[in-house]
């Protein structure tokens, strides 16, 4: 039972064309699996469906980015014509003068978009990991995002039926993993990461450090090992 891979390239090498991927992070470089994204860009798999909170924001507006850094995000996959569709809650730049690569491709009808409210996105992913095929939520009722979907009242209030999201692969950044695959995230880099890791057939995780089993105290484990398939340690000479 060895989950440790030696390189990012090796860890993503079997991601085929037409795959559905969950890619982590809130919007900034913190909690974004930049090394795995770069490896997937190098691999070049095409026609990908990407499930993610944004469609690549930090690379154009520097969201949550420390001075002098140039983060890698989904934008590089869009620019490389690898992306067929994006399922996201925050796909465009808040600054119209600095559009995302996704927006430009979308304007040229090169990429599709499914826009999902952020809480519904998180809950659909959780549902995918938790064996719940569909659930009702109040979010989006009487708006564009619920058009064509089933609406039902419970206790006099209207709710929309939303379905689970699953992926073939998840690309995840964590802080540490032990050799079994138990993960710890840092601070606000737990948000989408800890949910997406549960909803993919194969979850690939890049970590700052792989430690011996037992080095992470039980009470600190955020993601239990059964959700983790592959682990790659970020080497010191790697800047991301």
């Amino acid at each position: 039972m060895n989950k440790v891979f030696n390189s990012f390239d090796e860890a993503v090498s079997d991601i085929p064309d037409n795959s559905t991927l969950m890619i982590d992070g809130f919007a900034g470089p913190g909690g974004t699996s930049q090394n795995l994204i770069a490896a997937l860009r190098n691999l070049g798999s095409k026609n990908l469906t990407i499930i993610s909170n944004t469609a690549g924001l930090a690379s154009v507006i520097g969201f949550g980015t420390l001075p002098g850094q140039t983060p890698v995000d989904i934008g590089v996959l869009v620019e490389n014509n690898q992306v067929k569709k994006v399922i996201a809650s925050f796909p465009v730049s808040p600054s119209p003068s600095r559009p995302t690569a996704f927006e430009k491709a979308y304007a040229k009808h090169e990429v599709e978009l499914e826009l999902v409210p952020q809480g519904t996105l998180a809950e659909r992913i959780r549902a995918g990991g938790a064996g719940i095929p569909a659930f009702f939520t109040p979010t989006g009722v009487d708006t564009r995002v619920s058009e064509g979907k089933e609406i039902r009242e419970f206790n006099g209030k209207k709710y929309v039926l939303e379905t689970a999201l699953k992926a073939d692969f998840a690309l995840i950044r964590a802080y540490q993993s032990d050799r079994l695959g138990n993960l710890v995230y840092k601070g606000t880099s737990k948000n989408f990461n800890s949910v997406m890791v549960t909803a993919a057939t194969i979850s690939i995780v890049e970590v700052d450090k792989i430690v011996e089993t037992g080095a992470i105290e039980s009470a600190l484990i955020d993601t239990p090992l059964l959700y983790v398939d592959r682990i790659v340690e970020i080497k010191e000479n790697n800047e991301r």
Partner: protein, 220 residues
């Protein structure tokens, strides 16, 4: 033209609405400024969709941490009693009614409290983010915005022409010229900015406002 209140004063007025112990989620823009104006002695707990509760001041220069941000991408300082959680948990808190107040910006608010704040139709694409969840899930939704758009048109409208965020969700609107409450029969003017009369405010507002006695000058 009469003077309009600046963004800080709008935020200061909104802050007055927050009660001791309230759990509050602040949207980007003017709402994010509110946290500076909480009176001493009141404890307000901030929540962010980035997966954090009980954050405080922003990080000082040189101490920024990319793993410690709020939903606006600002770097936070570590604080005692701060907790972190997944996005599904962050929105379970929102949708489950555990957030007392959210302060949101708006493109339009309608007579019946409908909110439109996620998409300018001419752009053809927009960001929903957490706004729909917050609008539907928070116990109280306060809108903080400029009263009129760049062309001078009223952002308080009879019917929203922009795509909706949520219907009938707004409780209170605080703008650069007025404080307006959403009541069953429509929009009631509560306060006017210094130097503004109720007629002045009405002139800038598409919706016919309800005037009851006791309209006050902006109080902070």
């Amino acid at each position: 033209m009469k003077d309009r209140l600046n963004r800080e004063i709008i935020a200061m007025r909104v802050a007055k609405e927050l009660q001791d112990g309230d759990v509050v989620n602040l949207g980007i823009g003017i709402p994010s400024l509110c946290s500076q104006f909480i009176p001493e002695g009141k404890t307000v707990i901030y929540h962010s969709e980035s997966g954090v509760l009980n954050y405080g001041p922003m990080a000082e220069e040189g101490f920024e941490d990319q793993d410690l941000i709020n939903a606006s991408g600002q770097f936070l300082a570590p604080v005692d009693g701060m907790s972190f959680f997944s996005s599904s948990d962050a929105f379970a808190m929102i949708r489950g009614g555990h957030i007392d107040v959210t302060v949101l910006g708006a493109l339009q608010v309608s007579k019946s409290g409908d909110l439109a704040n996620w998409m300018i139709p001419s752009r053809g694409i927009g960001n929903v983010g957490g706004a729909m969840d917050l609008a539907v899930g928070a116990k109280k939704v306060i809108v903080a915005m400029e009263h009129n758009d760049k062309n001078g048109s009223s952002k308080i409208v009879n019917e929203c022409s922009f795509p909706l965020t949520s219907k009938s969700c707004v409780s209170l609107i605080v703008t650069d010229i007025a404080v307006i409450q959403v009541v069953k029969s429509g929009l009631q003017l509560l306060e006017c900015a210094p130097g503004w009369t109720k007629e002045d405010v009405q002139n800038e507002t598409e919706v016919e406002l309800i005037f009851e006695k006791g309209i006050k000058e902006f109080t902070l």
